[in-house]
Chain length 357, copies 2
Amino acid sequence: MVDAKDHGRLTARDREILKDVILTYILSAEPVSSRSVAKHGKLGLSAATIRNVMADLEEWGYLMQPHTSAGRVPTALAYHLFIGSMMEMRAVPARERRYIQENLKGGSSDADQLMGTASHLLSELSSQVGIVVTPAMGETVLKAVDFIPVSGRKVLCVVVSSTGFIDNKVIETDEEVPREELVRISNYLTENFGGQTLRQIRERLLRMMVEEKAQMDRFLARTLELAKSGFSVGETPGVVVDGTSMLLAKPELSDVQRVRRMFEAFADKARLVKILNLCIQGGGVRVLIGEDSDLTSELDFSVVATPYGVGDQPLGTLGIVGPSRMDYESVIPLVNFLGETLSRALADTFSGEPERK
Amino acid sequence: MVDAKDHGRLTARDREILKDVILTYILSAEPVSSRSVAKHGKLGLSAATIRNVMADLEEWGYLMQPHTSAGRVPTALAYHLFIGSMMEMRAVPARERRYIQENLKGGSSDADQLMGTASHLLSELSSQVGIVVTPAMGETVLKAVDFIPVSGRKVLCVVVSSTGFIDNKVIETDEEVPREELVRISNYLTENFGGQTLRQIRERLLRMMVEEKAQMDRFLARTLELAKSGFSVGETPGVVVDGTSMLLAKPELSDVQRVRRMFEAFADKARLVKILNLCIQGGGVRVLIGEDSDLTSELDFSVVATPYGVGDQPLGTLGIVGPSRMDYESVIPLVNFLGETLSRALADTFSGEPERK
DNA sequence: TGTTAGCACTCTCGCGTTGAGAGTGCTAGT
DNA sequence: ACTAGCACTCTCAACGCGAGAGTGCTAACA
């Protein structure tokens, strides 16, 4: 294993050749030979010279060959170098920007739909798998709550978060609660607890139930009971995956065994969340390649992801997953743009009232 | 092509042999030879005799061989005969019944969740792909409707159907409507329109808007405006698919091309609905094999499906899809049982009040 | 006449071989 | 320092071959 300070060893020519190898490999999916670099490369060198350089690059850990006398393939190290200091981002084309913005504007739909379309857009525009990690409901900020009687002692509880997430839940009360009282309870809870996260609210409720147990009147007792059930929503974040079938077209998945492992990997939502959330640090787009996780290393997959959220609070992560050989130059800007657009859409969903300054 | 009256030609022995071929093929996924039938078959016949019979069965369209000098494989005709008059249903084992009932009991969750678990149960217990077609929201019967102010002119509209389906929708009003008025509107609509399907309601609303245009007061105008937006929900049924990755383990999908086609087939939701709804007639479980549709014939897949619903009204379809070679003897009872259980769960979801006798 | 044993025939599948092609590493020459 | 040339290695597709499995047919048998 060669460490990063070796980067300094690369001459401008070395870098040029490495870049060329990476670009052609991304395009062709086949090991690239010295000959092809010599031919189509800008610098007029012969194949033999290129060979020497490529041998060096292999020694330093940037390239590898599947077997002797095959062309060379970039390693994760090479991709990282490429992304870090060699490639030039290609801005998202205007028509795609418009397409995204049209499909992903806040206010017209609730957050769950937004998650779905975001995931689909990611997949469609990158030809990879699109993934969106949705926030755990418990971490979202309460906007409104409402109880709707549906029959007998059954009540439908609707929890609306300030970022547009909606949770429906049927709860059963001890005794039938009249409609008017449900309205009063809804109003009371919305006014008194709006602006806090569901987790905070749950804790506060517990404290109230202990402290004020004695002097609670009938109304408050019922309110707390309903609130306790209604606010006990999911602790775990959800995952929306779209476009897995896209990958079947890629040449690296011509083997059924790999296809199976891939689907197993995508089925394990918990692990997906863990991997995607590795990208939550730093704010911008992050790229995981190969060794960084078991999913990616086993299948030679990469993850390009970025956090999204409203204001300072991160809500979740979004990104794409696919073979390491992917078009980073346009995929990274795409993920970045989608992260921004989704964040804005979520902020706009229930705009009109500041978030709780 | 041989038609059905040939059934009469089959002697008891022929049927016995055909049945044996089908059963072993279902188990082994490989063309079954005369030898294997002779060996393990009850009737003590030699392989040569079996061969004669099998040649007849092939001529009559019940068997076919992938190539000369391979064993024989049942045709769709054979499966139909098998299902119609040869197999003996295996009742769903008690532990599975319990498992299903525990996971699929109404009242504890809303209908969308039920659809999800039903689909998952189908897939898990049959090792095939589970599919549930959910009713178009417009065909469901209104139980309650509620408007929740979320910010400025934005209002969240919650439509609850009597079978437990819930639809959330953010709508934008012309001017801000005070909270109390929204409550009044919710009550008014719930009381006056509960018990009708959304489609009926939409039509009645249109009539009202035309007829009473003149003498409408401010309240009614607002109400109708909100109702019009809120009730304009999906015309198209949804589809929940689960367990596609199960099929990757099956030997018939060892080829990547087939895997691709399969995923494309499952991605086309509209076509799935159409195929599943072929089974809606007749009430009980129906089986489509091979030629019956392009999806099934192209991939040698079968569909086992049954309608579900509350009372006399069918709501949707549910079933499983997989290679024609499937264990019909237990899969059919399973689908049947799940259809009944889901129907009951939906009926129970908001029990306590009769449906509108 | 129905059943069985035997045998030749056909087809698939796995395996080793072979030759072409692609690509490399090395060395000698510029 | 670069390049041309050449021998070497490895893959891949094609081919042939033999084993194995299964059939169809025919002749013998009850």
